[in-house]
């Protein structure tokens, strides 16, 4: 083990550069997948015929596939049918597709957990269906979705490390670049990198706990 050689100022700077890419990719994928998931989840909650079933089938398939496969597919296979993306684009797309499927299920069950009585109350007070959904069901449902959604976002942040397979220069990739120099760097570098992921994710999960307490 060579802690001093592994964690020089230059190496730490290089790791932080990778971490910025990790955070950037995660942030974009979180925003995109959240928007898509709310749309899909709401459509499925409303049980719009045909569309709802098609989306249901798509969500079911994507949820049940390994993310790594979706990353490989996006980057290596889609170009064969004419859809081309940069490494960054492919990483964000694959993460977004996968997480949107996961989160849409959270959205749907969150909406389903709002008592039917509330909808009837909304309707009888003169709101139409869409208004009821927008003003009554969605706000309450969203609040209940916060805890599972945050754990999903934590998963997403961890999952960005899989993009190492398409050489996205994120934290994991940069760690491997340093590790390639000397086997004695591996342990200190991995411990350091694990702590970087851990600090962000642990903070996120604590914030989620806070929110959860506030909600209930």
């Amino acid at each position: 083990m060579d802690i001093a050689g592994a964690l020089t100022a230059d190496h730490i700077k290089f790791l932080f550069k990778g971490f910025l890419v990790t955070l950037e990719v995660a942030a974009i994928a979180i925003v995109l997948s959240f928007i898509i998931a709310v749309v899909i989840g709401t459509i499925r909650y409303m049980k719009i015929p045909v569309l709802s079933q098609i989306l249901g089938a798509i969500v079911e398939i994507i949820r049940n596939l390994p993310l790594l496969l979706i990353i490989f597919f996006t980057f290596f296979a889609l170009p064969e049918v004419g859809i081309q993306m940069t490494i960054m684009g492919a990483a964000i797309t694959a993460l977004t597709v996968f997480e949107a499927a996961m989160i849409s299920e959270i959205v749907r069950s969150g909406l389903n957990s709002v008592e039917k009585g509330q909808i009837e109350a909304g309707r009888s007070s003169g709101l139409n269906y869409i208004q009821t959904l927008w003003h009554i069901v969605l706000p309450q449902g969203l609040r209940r979705m916060v805890p599972p959604m945050v754990s999903q976002f934590i998963s997403l942040l961890k999952d960005t490390s899989l993009a190492v397979v398409i050489a996205l220069p994120e934290l994991m990739h940069n760690a491997q670049v340093i590790n390639a120099q000397n086997v004695n760097y591996i342990i200190p570098v991995f411990v350091f990198v694990a702590l970087m992921y851990w600090i962000v994710n642990f903070t996120l999960s604590k914030v989620a706990k806070r929110l959860e307490l506030k909600v209930t």
Binding site: I28, I58, F76, M85, V165, N179
Partner: protein, 269 residues
């Protein structure tokens, strides 16, 4: 049921990709080549984007301190860019692996590949190659004192490490069918695996192996080369003008001594 799944899978992936493809390609404004002519493209954008390795000592290795990639391929790319566009600062570098380089070229993310790439008939169907710019051959890297001295010492159960998508993985299966071949994402991971004792020997082109032995003196290259691996520069299929320009530049570099200079700087043997 299976057939239904298949259709769903297809539909899903394509739909999802189409929906999201847009946001993926947005994040980097990318000059799509206007026409078929790859030479026009690089002249118009006034730079050449080279796909290079980042984990291959002596050819293309990323220096974590500066963030720059350094090696024989890099210096060659700079010299060629200088010949073609007049200034070596017009060379731009993008990191590729054996697995990602052809897709990236076909997408137009890079204009040319100079990344320890062997010219093969299979690959000629996908890309155009320049003249040979480096003569390599496949060999073996072992820990000093290993009982493996040449390819003949590879027996049943010998663990040979290689890289996914490389010619050496295919070759070793032919030359030593008894061996257990383990394939990794890139050279860095394969070498780390060898150093971690996950295999008995690592096989790829000797040029790359010399780089590894140079990095860690506990390892050495053994035996004669058992294949010819002529390295070429690859560009998009059907770009004869660009290839002609690269070959012309290559010849100039060999004639005026620049090639030898770069060669001596990196390859000691």
């Amino acid at each position: 049921m299976k057939k239904k799944n298949l259709w769903f899978a297809l539909l899903t992936m394509i739909l999802a990709a189409v929906v999201l493809g847009a946001c993926g390609s947005e994040d980097k404004e990318k000059e799509k080549d206007s026409g078929k002519n790859a030479l026009d493209t690089v002249k118009k954008q006034d730079k050449i984007v080279w796909g290079v390795k980042n984990d291959t000592r002596l050819f293309g290795l990323k220096n974590p301190t500066t963030g720059d990639i350094e090696g024989f391929d890099i210096d060659m790319a700079k010299a060629l860019t200088k010949e073609i566009l007049g200034d070596e600062s017009k060379a731009e570098f993008k990191e590729v692996t054996s697995k990602t380089r052809i897709p990236l070229l076909q997408k137009g993310d890079i204009n040319a590949i100079i990344a320890t790439m062997t010219i093969t008939e299979e690959r000629k169907k996908e890309v155009d190659f320049s003249d040979v710019y480096f003569e390599a051959g496949q060999s073996l890297l072992v820990k000093k004192g290993s009982s493996i001295k040449s390819i003949d010492d590879i027996k049943k159960g010998t663990k040979v490490l290689a890289v996914k998508g490389s010619t050496s993985a295919v070759n070793i299966r032919e030359k030593a069918p008894e061996a257990t071949v383990l394939e990794f994402e890139n050279y860095a991971e394969a070498f780390t695996a060898l150093k971690s004792g996950q295999g008995d020997t690592l096989t790829t082109d000797n040029a790359i192996l010399y780089g590894m032995a140079d990095e860690d003196s506990n390892y050495e290259v053994v035996g004669d080369t058992f294949t010819d691996e002529p390295y070429g520069i690859a560009v998009k299929k059907d770009s004869p003008e660009f290839i002609a320009e690269i070959n012309k530049a290559l010849k100039t570099l060999k004639d005026n001594g620049t090639y030898d200079e770069i060669y001596k700087k990196w390859i000691k043997e």
